[in-house]
Symmetry: C2
Subunit: 435 residues, 2 copies
C-alpha cells in the first residue's frame, strides 16, 4: 500500500498536537491505514514562535504555495481557522485534486457548500470531524452510523467555553463577569470571548450539524442566536429552585410541518436530563433518529489533543480512500443540500416552549395581577410562580414559569409589560427545553 | 453508480426492521449511497410465521443456498444469531467473494478471527456495528473515529436486560427474581435469561470491543465473568447508603504493565458518575483515549429498529466500498490481532480495587474485631463500615467498604471468614469501579 503524503497549513497548538499524534502512534496508525502518513511540509505564519518538540524545523515553510502546488502532496490539512485565507487555500487544494481535512467551522459554515461541490466535482474528499465538538465524533456518526435513519432532532452543548462559564456560575454562585474572567485565566476563553459567549461559534457548528442531519443549506443569519452573557447568577439560582440548570444549547429539530426549528441560546433544562450533567468544558450532542431513538455522544469538545485525534482519524479515512482510489466515496450532495428539497427555517416567533420569565417588580398593589393579565391577554398562561424579596423600597424578583406558549406572544406580552410602571427594568426571558 | 444487491439470512424482528428501514428511507439512503439497495432474497426458517408488512413473500426462500450461490448478490446480511449455521453460511459467502454484514456477537466472539482473516484474504468487507450495543455506534467510533489514538480503557453497560433488571431493583426496592419476571413480561428478558443475566452476552461483546481497541485475540474463557443474579435488594440498598449504584459493567483496560484488565460483573459505581444515570434498557460505553480523553456513547442497545439502523448503515458503508471497488479498505489485521503483539490478560486475582463486602454476622462478641483481623491478615484494610439490625437471635448485616486491595487477598480473607463460626452464610463481595 502507498503512503499518504500530507501538507499542513497551520502550526499552532492543534498543528503541534497532530504532529505529536503522528509520531507517538505511528505504528498503530500505519497498521490501521495500511501505509504511513508522511508530513511533507508545514506552513507556519510567524517565524519566531516556539513550535514545541514535534515540529521538525526542516519541514516548516512560510509560503502556502509550497503545499498547494506540490504534486507530491495528497492531502492538505488546514488548521489555521477563519474564512480567509483558508477558503482560498482549500479551493486551490481541491482544484489541484488534493483531498482536504479541516477543523475550520467558521469556513464551513460560511462557504462549506462551495467547497463540498468543488470536492465532489473533482472526486476528492473534504473531511471535517474536528470542526464540531473537537474529539467527539458527531460528524462521522451523522454521516455514516445513522446514514440509514431519518434524524428528527439534534440537541447539543457544543461550545465548551460557554458551558464552562455557566457551570462555574452554577457551582460557585458567581455572576457572568467573574466566571468569564476565570475562564480566560484558565485558557478556556479567548481574550475577546464574543464568538463563544455570544453564541456565534455554536451557530457555526449547528449549521454544519443541520447540513449533515437534514441536507440543509443554511445562511448563518437564519439561526436565531443568543448568548450566555444575558444570564446572571440570579437566574441560575431561580432555575435551580424550579429543578433546572441553565445550559448553552444548540438545537436543530425537524418539525412535523416540514420546517426546521433552529436555535442557539442558553436554555433551562431539567436537572434529570443527561445533558444537565455535562459540565465544565465538556461537549455533548443528543441525536434523535426516527428508528434509532436517542443517542448521546459526549467528550472533550476542544483542546489540542482531542482535536488532533479527529483530524488524524480523518487523514486515516481519507488515506484509506486514496489507497483504493476511491476518493469521494461518500456522496456529498445528499448531506450538503443539493438533493434535498428546500427546507424552511421556522420563524423564532412561532417557536413554542415553556418560558422562564423574571420581572423586577416595584412595590405597587396588584402587580402580580397586572403581570398575569398582560400575559393572559397574549395567550400566555402561568404554570408556577415564585416571588423573592420584601416589598419595600427595593424592587422584588417575580419569577414565572409559563405553560408552553408561542414565542411571539410572549415577546408581545413582555413588550407591553416592560412599558408599564410596575417594573423597574426589562424582563428576563429564557427558553425551557423540554425533551 | 451501481445498485447494491443484498441477500438476507434471517427474517425475525431485526430482519423485518431492516426491510422497513430500507423501504421508508429508500430515497435518503439512495442519496447517501449513490445507488439503491435491492433486496434480492430473504432466507426464512419457519414457513408459517407472520413476517409483518415489509417482507414481500416473493422474496422469501427457505434455502440459504439461494443467497450463498447467487452471483447477483453482492452482500450477505446475517441476522439469525448463534454460531451455527451462521458460521458456515458466512464462511461460504466470504469465500464466494461476497461482503458480509452481521449482527451476530456470539459468532464474532467465537470465530470472528477466522472470518476476518477470510474477508481480508478475499478483499471483501465484514461489518458488524449491530453486534455490540445495538444502535450505539461504538464499533465505528473505535475503528474509525479513534483510529489515530491509543485506547486506554473501555467501560460499558452493554447488556440492556441486566441494566433494566438492576434499574428496576433500584427504583422499586425489589429483589432479583421479581425484577427478572417483570423484565420477561415486558419483553426485555428471554424465557431463558442465562446468557444476559449471567454476563455471557456482555462477555461476547467485550471480546469484540477489546479486539477493536487493542487488537486482542481473545478466548471468551479469558474474560472473568459474573452475572447480576448474585445481587440482591439488600446490596442495592447498602450501596445507595454509601453513594453508589450497582450497574452491570464490562471493562477492558490497558494496564501500564502491558496486560489487559478484562472483566464482566455487577459493579458499584459512584452516583455522580455519568454511567450511574444510564438506566433501564439503555446501553452506554465510555471510551478513554490517551489523546482524546473520555468519550461517552449512549443509546438504545437493543430492539428491532435501533439494531436495523446499525445493520443498514453498515450496508451503506459496504455499498460505498463496492461502488468504488474498494472492498477491504479498512485493514482488518490491525484491529483483529495479527499485527499486534501478544497481549496478556491479567489474572483476576491480581486485580486491585475497592470492594463492597457484606457479612451475615452472628451475635458473638468481638465479631467485628474478628472480621477486621482476618481481612487485615490478608492486607485488606477497611475504609467504611455499617452494621444493620439488632443483635439477638437473627444474624445482622455487616457491610464494609475496603481500601483498594488485591482481589486474591480479598478472596483468601473471605474464604477464611466463611469458615468461621461468627457468620451465618458466605460473604457477598462486589467490586467497586472508581474511574
Amino acid at each position: 500500500m502507498r503512503n499518504i503524503r500530507i501538507g499542513m497549513i497551520g502550526c499552532g497548538v492543534v498543528g503541534q498536537g497532530i504532529m505529536r499524534l503522528l509520531k507517538e502512534n505511528a505504528a498503530s496508525i500505519e497498521g490501521r491505514l495500511g501505509g504511513k502518513i508522511e508530513v511533507k511540509r508545514i506552513v507556519a505564519r510567524s517565524r519566531d514562535k516556539d513550535r514545541g518538540p514535534f515540529v521538525p524545523t526542516s519541514l516548516v515553510t512560510y509560503d502556502a504555495n509550497e503545499v498547494l502546488t506540490d504534486p507530491n502532496i495528497d492531502v492538505v490539512v488546514e488548521v489555521i481557522g477563519g474564512v480567509e485565507p483558508a477558503y482560498s487555500y482549500l479551493k486551490r487544494a481541491l482544484e489541484a485534486g488534493k483531498s482536504v481535512v479541516t477543523a475550520n467551522k467558521a469556513l464551513l459554515a460560511a462557504r462549506g457548500h462551495e467547497l463540498f461541490e468543488l470536492a465532489e466535482s473533482r472526486g476528492v474528499d473534504l473531511y471535517f470531524e474536528a470542526a464540531v465538538a473537537g474529539g467527539v465524533p458527531v460528524i462521522r456518526v451523522l454521516r455514516e452510523a445513522f446514514a440509514s435513519d431519518r434524524i428528527t432532532a439534534v440537541r447539543g452543548i457544543i461550545n465548551g467555553t460557554s458551558n464552562y462559564i455557566l457551570s462555574r456560575m452554577q457551582e460557585a454562585g458567581i455572576d457572568f463577569a467573574p466566571a468569564l474572567k476565570e475562564a480566560q485565566q484558565k485558557g478556556y476563553a479567548e481574550a475577546d470571548p464574543t464568538l463563544d459567549v455570544g453564541g456565534g461559534d455554536a451557530a457555526h457548528k449547528l449549521s454544519i450539524l443541520a447540513m449533515l442531519a437534514y441536507g440543509a443549506k443554511l445562511d448563518l443569519a437564519q439561526i436565531p442566536t443568543s448568548g450566555i452573557d444575558q444570564v446572571n447568577a440570579t437566574d441560575i439560582a431561580f432555575a435551580q429552585r424550579f429543578g433546572f440548570v441553565i445550559k448553552p444549547l444548540a438545537v436543530a429539530r425537524a418539525l412535523d410541518n416540514g420546517a426546521l426549528d433552529l436555535r442557539v441560546h442558553p436554555a433551562l433544562i431539567s436537572k434529570k436530563s443527561v445533558l444537565a450533567s455535562v459540565n465544565g468544558a465538556l461537549n455533548a450532542v443528543y441525536i434523535e433518529g426516527a428508528a434509532v431513538g436517542p443517542c448521546l455522544l459526549s467528550g472533550l469538545g476542544a483542546g489540542a489533543m482531542p482535536t488532533a485525534v479527529s483530524v488524524v482519524s480523518d487523514i486515516v479515512d481519507v488515506g484509506r480512500n486514496l489507497q483504493r482510489d476511491s476518493g469521494g466515496r461518500v456522496p456529498q450532495r445528499a448531506f450538503h443540500g443539493d438533493s434535498v428539497k428546500a427546507l424552511r427555517v421556522q420563524d423564532i416567533a412561532d417557536h413554542r416552549c415553556r418560558f422562564y420569565l423574571r420581572f423586577s417588580a416595584l412595590d405597587r398593589s396588584g402587580v402580580l395581577g397586572k403581570l398575569a393579565s398582560a400575559l393572559g391577554d397574549h395567550n400566555v398562561s402561568i404554570e408556577q410562580m415564585v416571588q423573592e424579596g420584601q416589598h419595600g423600597s427595593q424592587p422584588v424578583s417575580v419569577v414565572l414559569l409559563t405553560h408552553p406558549a408561542r414565542e411571539g406572544d410572549v415577546r408581545a406580552a413582555l413588550s407591553k409589560i416592560d412599558s408599564m410602571d410596575i417594573v423597574a427594568e426589562p424582563a428576563q426571558a429564557l427558553r425551557i427545553e423540554d425533551t
